[in-house]
Amino acid sequence: MIYLQGIKKSFNQLPVLKGINLKIEKGEVVTILGPSGSGKTTLLRCLNFLEKPNAGIVQIGNIIVDSEKATKKEMLAIRKQSAMVFQHYNLFAHKTVVENVMEGLIVAKKVKKKDARHQSERVLEKVGLSDKLHHYPSQLSGGQQQRVGIARALALNPEVILFDEPTSALDPELVGDVLSVIKSIAQEGITMVVVTHEMSFAREVSNRVLFMDEGVIVEEGTPLEIFHAAKEERTRRFLQRISGESFFTPLKEQVN
């Protein structure tokens, strides 16, 4: 279970998160939507203290940290409750695929090397990379790299996996593969928080959708509620704009 209370974060006096309260149950898949700059990434990074909130309480599982007084030790403890999948994969470039997955198991979880290898190979099979175990990240496509990123997170068996736009750096034809991997692990009952611009994914996979704007959670509800009966004007306008754009986005992504 995840519990956030009064999370605030500013960058150089600019408030980016203005007091976020949130509760996520075990096994829930929560997607976060919102315009660029609304603080989605920052919120996700506050969950594992890659950004240290200026104020507020973060609880994941049985670890509770008051961010104002957070010590290094507490930050490490709460990081071990979660794992993250990054937009740009952030794989360890000098390690092979299987070593990337093993690293956290060996170093942070103190699993024996042999066991870590077995576990990692099993997880990599799940994401369809059994034939790439000994490749380096530079030898993989973006989609394959991201699946390694997912395997690295999954292998840790964390309370929650945090995804920050896991498909937005991918070529359009590779998005489907990665999304289907994420879908399949969502169905295993792993708690997930996913920041995404993939509306179909949010609609089909998540139990709950949050809409963020200007550092606050404007509205939350089931996909049905948010996509078909949003209460807030800001949410409706955002969704309208997104669906209007969606025809052009593949083109735009290619240009980028």
Partner: protein
Amino acid sequence: MGKAFDLMLIIEFIPTLIQYLGITLQILAASIILGLVLGIAAAIPRLYKIPILNQLVILYVSFIRGTPILIQLFLVFYGLPAILLLLFSIDITRMEAIYFVIITYAISNGAGFSEIFRAAIRAVDYGQTEAAFSVGMTSRQNFFRIVLPQAVRIAFPNMANSVIGSLKDTSLAFTIGVMDMMGRGDTLIAATAHALEVYLSLSIIYYIIVVMFEKIFSKLEKYFNRYQKADVTAVA
């Protein structure tokens, strides 16, 4: 000037001179190892922006870069005994000249290495550090397991250049009386008056050693680069 040029002497001198290669390599090895330690120590205040120490390191590096190594050698040779005598009443005037050479080259290498390390560590993509934190690694684990191995690869070509430069610089050690290859060459010239032949012999020896170093370094570099993009075809 010397006697008439004799081609055969070049070959004849080589065995005599090469006996002193050991001294040259000793100076090189000792000054590189000490330079590495000093370089790491000097890189830390720069990376972590430790006040005062940071400025001191900047001054140290720019001084070493801005002055000829020969002058640094004389500064250490004449200056170090004077300072130690003045401040701690330690008399090192009888210390063998080779130690002054090693100290000078270590100080000089340390400055160069610290800049190379700093740049290399900065060059490792910070996203990987964040990934290391996200899987529950500490800063120390991240540094030694993720950042350092990649920084070594990035630093390696520059380090290799430094080592080769340093090897050539050791040829100045004879100016304070060290009996290395150059020093022996000096005495050979005095004894035979065949200066050109001696210098040609020396240049042949230095050249062969440098080429050998380059060969070894390029092999090592290939190994360090095994996970880089260019290698795709080799493994696939």
